[in-house]
């Protein structure tokens, strides 16, 4: 089943068709979503139940982990998911993201057709388990050296940051509606991410997948405005840079840099 009246080109349509034909018939997006969001929320509930008499400075763990998590997301996306490698995990990440996710969803058609397409954006459920295990040593050390509350907050914030990413990325690929158009942060993420799906800028622009903080810090955003403007830009295309470099190739593989006149980034799916 495909979206009617979609502006996608024949190449994207064909890719989506073949991709779907190779997905197991029993795959269910709702089960996939439950395994991630249900388990993730339950983990946060469990970790926060262990908190007791939290001091003001212990709460600072949340913004620190959130911004740190956003940086990991930015760095991974920019330097692993969009950098071709010949073998190993690097190759796997590049193929799954640049050659698969970006073929299935483009700036012209970034929407799911139905719940079976959720597989293309949601991480495999084992990601949550591995993220939990990876943070455990840090949380144990923090709990021992700093305080028990910081250890539990570290775990809860890590899972919260991961779920924040999953929710926003998911909402970037749903059809337009009143909520996603008007909800702050969500509408900003949708325009930001849809612009990133433009093949001519995807290798080096809007590399924060859903929350443009680190794009603003590193100057890799397609917007020319301050931090607050970046975070609450919404669907506006008023501040898009006029000198965006247009290249579908990996920056470090280019022998020279060619500048082309800017084409404004696309608006989120408004159909």
């Amino acid at each position: 089943m495909e979206i009617h009246n979609s502006p996608m080109n024949e190449r994207q349509r064909r890719y989506r068709e073949v991709y779907r034909s190779r997905t197991s018939g029993w795959y269910n997006g709702y089960v996939h979503a439950f395994l991630i969001f249900g388990t993730g929320l339950y983990a946060i509930f469990f970790f926060t139940m262990n908190l007791s008499e939290v001091l003001w400075w212990e709460w600072l763990t949340i913004p620190v982990v959130f911004l740190g998590g956003q940086w990991v997301e930015y760095y991974t996306h920019r330097f692993l998911l969009h950098r071709p490698k010949k073998s190993g995990m690097g190759r796997l990440l590049y193929v799954r993201h640049t050659l698969m996710h970006h073929q299935f969803f483009t700036a012209e058609e970034p929407r799911y057709a139905n719940h079976r397409d959720w597989r293309v954006t949601l991480f495999p459920p084992f990601t949550l388990t591995i993220a939990t295990l990876m943070m455990l040593p840090s949380a144990l050390v923090a709990g021992w050296v700093i305080s028990g509350n910081v250890g539990w907050l570290l775990m809860a914030s890590t899972i919260g940051t991961y779920l924040f990413y999953e929710v926003l990325h998911f909402l970037c690929h749903v059809g337009d509606n009143w909520f996603v158009r008007h909800c702050p942060i969500v509408n900003t993420a949708r325009r930001h991410h849809t612009a990133h799906h433009n093949h001519s800028i995807m290798m080096e622009t809007n590399m924060s997948i859903v929350f443009p903080f680190w794009d603003w810090v590193y100057g890799t955003s397609d917007l020319d405005r301050g931090l607050i403007g970046h975070l609450f830009n919404g669907y506006s295309t008023k501040h898009i840079k006029k000198d965006l470099r247009q290249t579908a190739k990996t920056p470090h593989l280019l022998p020279h840099v060619s500048k082309a006149s800017s084409k404004p980034g696309p608006e989120p799916a408004n159909r």
Partner: protein, 66 residues
């Protein structure tokens, strides 16, 4: 993810569960042991669920050939 790696992560998850159990006992939060057990089970299900969906990669070139 290969089953061998999942077995390793399963073992690590069980060890994490034991550590969580010891912490809850030490901090006097035995009332949360049920939640801890449920969380370990959910994470274990997540580790193994939907694995057969992860088929081989589909590059644009491969899609054009099919």
């Amino acid at each position: 993810m290969p089953a061998s790696k999942k077995l390793v992560f399963s073992a690590l998850l069980l060890i994490a569960g034991v550590i969580g159990y010891l912490i809850e006992i030490k901090t006097g939060r035995e009332d949360l042991l049920g939640h801890l057990g449920a969380l370990v089970v959910l994470l274990m299900v997540g580790l193994w669920a939907l694995s057969p969906v992860d088929r081989e990669e589909l590059t644009p070139a491969k899609a054009r050939r099919e």
